[in-house]
């Protein structure tokens, strides 16, 4: 547990973020990008969607992030019979006080881990997504604010399975970023075998940053400078997705906003107090790809159709001129 103040210096921010990253990386072997992405989304006050096949450590990542922070964490296992009230909480009649008393659901936590979100019914999904967007819960006419900071780390299985309800595009848009874990490389996998035979590495994680510290870090990220050139570049990129003939659905203005926010967090984690176009480039696929829909031509275009949207994005990133300074 570290002492924090409300305004951080660059050094302090860098030290704190280093602590969190180190803690997480002890659990998640060989996936520094996924770890960094998770922290980036957290600091940018976004929500993260981890999409991958079962057993590659999606939940592990979410829990590692949660455990390295000294804050409230809840975990929801989504199942087809999960009801909205199981997430938001319910009002229960208290016979002693003769009043309805609100029992907060698991959504009232700083970090909410939603496992296999696509197994829940659409109704339950949308209840969660509304909370994500509005940072509040309304039950029986009363509105309850969610914790701050608040982030949802949801996992889903990309392969259509029986009894799953794929998130519709409009709801995927609520997530700031989508990442996939990918399989670990051979060395990491061997190391994992050795380490985890006895006990879960999660047990070793000590919380390194508290709520105050986290909020200070978030405030620091807010202060990261985004030059007009980079703003323009982000807008150019997003607008290019709307014009591209290979994309049926382009990115929303919300995407632009979240792209800039995520870029701030990434720049801060990289030790800079200003955003580079490189930050935007690096975040284009995680932040934008899940919001885009390829045209049928691309989506069904042969063997590589799975990677088509990231390919299109990569092409757009490569083709969009990078403004150099304010003058150009």
């Amino acid at each position: 547990m570290t002492d924090t103040t409300t305004t951080l210096s660059a050094e302090e921010f860098y030290r704190l973020s280093g602590l969190v990253l180190n803690a997480m990386q002890r659990v998640i072997d060989g996936k520094p990008e996924a770890v960094a992405m998770a922290l980036t989304v957290l600091l940018a006050e976004g929500h993260l969607l981890i999409e991958d096949v079962p057993g590659v450590g999606k939940t592990q990542l979410a829990r590692a992030l949660a455990k390295s922070l000294d804050c409230s964490v809840s975990r929801i296992q989504f199942t087809p019979d999960l009801l909205p009230a199981d997430i938001t909480g319910v009002s229960i009649y208290d016979q002693t006080t003769r009043e309805f008393e609100f029992k907060p659901g698991p959504i009232f936590a700083n970090v909410v881990v939603g496992d296999e979100i696509n197994r829940a019914s659409p109704k339950t999904q949308s209840a969660l997504l509304e909370c994500m967007e509005e940072h509040q819960v309304t039950v029986d006419g009363a509105t309850y604010r969610l914790a701050s900071p608040f982030t949802v780390i949801a996992t889903q299985n990309p392969i259509e399975m029986e009894g799953t309800y794929t998130l519709p595009e409009a709801q995927r848009d609520r997530f700031m970023a989508r990442i996939s874990m990918g399989y670990p490389d051979a060395a990491s996998e061997v190391a994992m075998l050795r380490d985890r035979e006895q006990r879960s590495p999660l047990d070793d994680i000590e919380p390194v940053v508290g709520v105050d510290g986290l909020q200070a870090m978030i405030a620091y990220v807010h202060g990261v400078f985004v030059s007009p050139a980079v703003e323009q570049y982000a807008v150019d990129l997003v607008q290019a997705t709307r014009r591209d003939p290979d994309l049926r659905l382009g990115a929303s203005p919300r995407a632009t906003l979240q792209l800039a926010r995520a870029a701030r967090a990434r720049a801060a984690l990289d030790g800079r107090d200003f955003v580079l176009p490189d930050d935007v480039d690096a975040l284009a696929v995680p932040v934008l790809a899940h919001r885009l829909i390829a045209t049928g031509r691309v989506a069904s275009g042969g063997a590589s159709s799975r990677a088509s949207v990231p390919d299109v994005l990569a092409r757009i990133v490569a083709a969009t001129p990078v403004p150099l300074g304010a003058g150009r």
Partner: protein, 716 residues
């Protein structure tokens, strides 16, 4: 397809450039020949370029095509199947080229488009077209095509400023801009200025070093019938636009010959007159003795076969001085005073005759040493009645620095040819002093414009005021080579070649020809010849004997009178050689200057961009341009960091560190709230690192043909 369009536009631009020569040359027939060569070069380039990717093949094919078409047009005789060049055709082309050069020198504008000139134009513009094609299509820097295009297009208007043709210029500019548009990249203004400026500088330098062309010389015509006193109507003759062949000749002389019809030495009060009443001597096999020529004078004997054209005349043109004329039909005799061969009641039209002549080859020493003429030259020293004093005064003024009589004569000749006088067949008639009236010499000296009669008359009279006996000869210039058989050149003399020149008498030498008329001859080459001056080259004309297909009929180099021979004046020869060397050096220097312009622009630009450490963005652009010059292509949508990562592998450790520093400063300057300074030495270090890793060819290209000057946007 883009290349095809650009080739088409470049062809159009080259045709416009060729068209810009129209004011310098008569007729438009030459334009078809040149245009055909250009079209062929462009077509071959397009076809081969479409078939083979490598640029070298297209250029090689274009050069081959140009050689073939030039051979076909200009040297098909000695060529295999009329088109495959042989050594013979190469020789023929070389000779033709020399004729062309002489022809350009000798003629005023608009000049007769002799085969020599057309050959030079076709070969030269064809070569330029290949270069333009190479620059514009293969090297893909269309902006640079402006340099050769503008340089060549500027030549005609620099030779004759009145030729500035706004329509042609607009066409050329439009074609050039269209070529530029075929590239979507934008030229920077600096490049535009550099291209324009270097083109103008190059054209100016070229105009300074190229041989001068007499300005404002209108086409020369002559009437077909010559009168008994040819000088009387010479001006009117020269203004007639229907020249025909006067005669053709072959000779064993080692150089072309002047032909004398007759000599006028009698200033009959006001007018140069023919001594009509002289008794003719009928024995044409023993003409002589030569008046005024000592027995021991150095001469060379020549034998000349003349075939007259359909002109009516009573005089038989002969190289002076003839001693035997054979083959004439009718009644002919010679005037013992002038040795003019004249018919009585017989016309020279259509006659064939052989004339043997002794042509004087006086040495310069003998001329310098010539004493004052003795008695017996009263007639040749007589001045016209009422000659204004200004004539004698001017003669004294002009020759004030000359010691000997010969030097005085040379001084007079140089004065006339020195540039203050203008050859014009129109000025005298409008100025009211046309004709041969000796009195008009004052008006001519004031007006400083006239034609051969005026120059000859003025120089003769001025020489007389200085005590040098003088007379006027009337005859023909040597004409042009119109064919070759058995190693002997056949010359064709046109009525255009009619001429008058002064002859001055030097004791111990005889009558010596001078050539004061500018524009109808090259500058006199005294050094070689002991006979001064008279380095008159003829204007050439289409002749009836020309074959229909283009054949070498260019004018013959005539640097010197036929009488000129050995005993060269070494100093003057060296001077002339020096002049040529200087001209060549000038051209080479101009070419080098033009070639160095991109290098200079690039250098200045680099210095400017690196001059401000607080402007890392300028430094970054410089780094990007330098890398681009060295073969690192631009990539659209690349961040400074990505660019740095791309070039870092080719740098050594120190350069990589410098690169990281520069990149950091650039990123701060471009994207952070507060900027950062960049160390120019770091930028130069990175550039040096890039250079070190590039090939030699790349480095050369980066230095002297930096492509960043013409492409400052990433390739699409």
């Amino acid at each position: 397809m883009n290349a095809l369009v650009r080739r088409g536009l470049l062809l159009g631009a080259m045709l416009v450039v060729a068209g810009s020569f129209h004011g310098l040359l008569q007729g438009i027939g030459w334009l078809f020949v040149v245009g055909a060569a250009l079209l062929l070069v462009a077509s071959v380039g397009a076809v081969v370029g479409a078939l083979v990717r490598r640029a070298g093949w297209a250029v090689a094919a274009q050069i081959a095509a140009l050689v073939l078409v030039v051979t076909l047009f200009f040297a098909s005789g000695p060529a295999l199947f009329g088109i495959i060049p042989t050594f013979g055709s190469v020789d023929a082309l070389v000779v033709l080229g020399q004729h062309g050069v002489e022809s350009i020198r000798a003629q005023g504008t608009p000049a007769e488009a002799t085969p020599g000139i057309v050959f030079l134009l076709a070969a030269g513009l064809g070569a330029v077209a290949i270069v333009v094609d190479l620059i514009g299509v293969a090297l893909a820097v269309p902006a640079l095509t402006g340099i050769p295009l503008l340089v060549v297009a500027a030549v005609p208007s620099l030779i004759q400023p009145s030729l500035d043709d706004p329509v042609l210029f607009a066409l050329l500019a439009a074609a050039y801009l269209a070529v530029l548009v075929t590239r979507r990249g934008r030229r920077t203004r600096a490049v535009a200025v550099a291209v324009g400026a270097s083109a103008v500088v190059a054209a100016l330098v070229l105009a300074l070093v190229l041989p001068p062309v007499a300005p404002d010389t209108p086409p020369i015509g002559a009437q077909t019938g010559l009168s008994a006193n040819p000088i009387v109507d010479l001006g009117a003759d020269l203004r007639r636009p229907d020249p025909t062949t006067a005669f053709t000749y072959t000779t064993d002389a080692d150089r072309p010959l002047y032909f004398t019809l007759t000599v006028l030495d009698d200033l009959d009060g006001q007018q140069w007159a023919i001594d009509d009443g002289a008794d003719l001597d009928g024995d044409l096999s023993r003409i002589g003795p030569v008046p005024g020529r000592p027995a021991d004078a150095a001469v060379s004997s020549v034998r000349t076969s003349v075939r007259m054209g359909a002109i009516r005349d009573i005089w038989a043109p002969s190289p002076w001085a003839p001693w035997s004329v054979q083959g004439l039909t009718g009644t002919w005799g010679f005037d013992p005073d002038t040795l003019g061969v004249r018919g009585t009641g017989s016309s020279i039209s259509g006659q064939k005759y052989v004339v043997k002549s002794d042509i004087a080859r006086p040495t310069r020493e003998s001329l310098e040493a010539a004493p004052a003429a003795g008695s017996g030259f009263d007639e040749q020293l007589a001045l016209p009645d009422g000659l204004p004093a200004v004539v004698a005064d001017t003669a004294r003024e002009v020759t004030a620095d000359a010691d000997t009589r010969f030097d005085k004569a040379l001084a007079l000749q140089s004065w006339f040819r020195g540039g203050t006088f203008r050859y014009s067949i129109d000025a005298p008639s409008s100025g009211g002093y046309d004709g041969s009236q000796a009195n008009y010499v004052a008006a001519f000296l004031a007006q400083k414009a006239g034609y051969c009669v005026h120059f000859a008359s003025a120089m003769a009279i001025m020489a007389r005021t200085l005590g040098i006996p003088a007379r006027i000869a009337v005859g023909f210039l040597p004409g042009t080579v119109s064919g070759t058989s058995g190693g002997t050149d056949t010359y064709t003399v046109s009525t255009d070649d009619m001429h008058a020149w002064p002859e001055l008498y030097f004791a111990g030498v005889g009558w010596v020809r001078f050539e004061p008329t500018p524009g109808r001859g090259v500058l006199p080459s005294f050094p070689i010849a002991s006979t001064p001056g008279s380095t008159s080259a003829p204007t050439s004309t289409p002749t009836s004997s020309s074959t229909a297909s283009p054949r070498p009929t260019a004018s013959r180099p005539t640097d010197g009178t036929p009488e000129e021979r050995a005993n060269a004046d070494a100093a003057a020869a060296a001077l002339r050689t020096l002049g040529r060397v200087l001209a060549v050096l000038g051209i080479v220097l101009a070419a080098i200057l033009v070639l160095l312009v991109p290098w200079g622009v690039r250098r200045v630009r680099r210095g400017r961009r690196l001059a401000h450490p607080d402007d890392p963005l300028g430094a970054w652009r410089e780094l990007g341009d330098s890398a681009f010059d060295l073969g690192v292509d631009r990539v659209a949508g690349e961040t400074p960091r990505a660019f740095g990562e791309r070039i870092a592998p080719s740098l050594d450790a120190a350069a990589v560190e410098a690169l990281v520093r520069v990149r950091g400063a650039v990123e701060r300057a471009a994207y952070a709230e507060s900027g950062a300074a960049v160390e120019p030495a770091d930028v130069r270090g990175v550039i040096a690192g890039l250079r070190a890793s590039a090939t030699r060819a790349r480095r050369l290209r980066a230095s002297f043909a930096p492509r960043s000057l013409v492409r400052d946007r990433p390739a699409e």
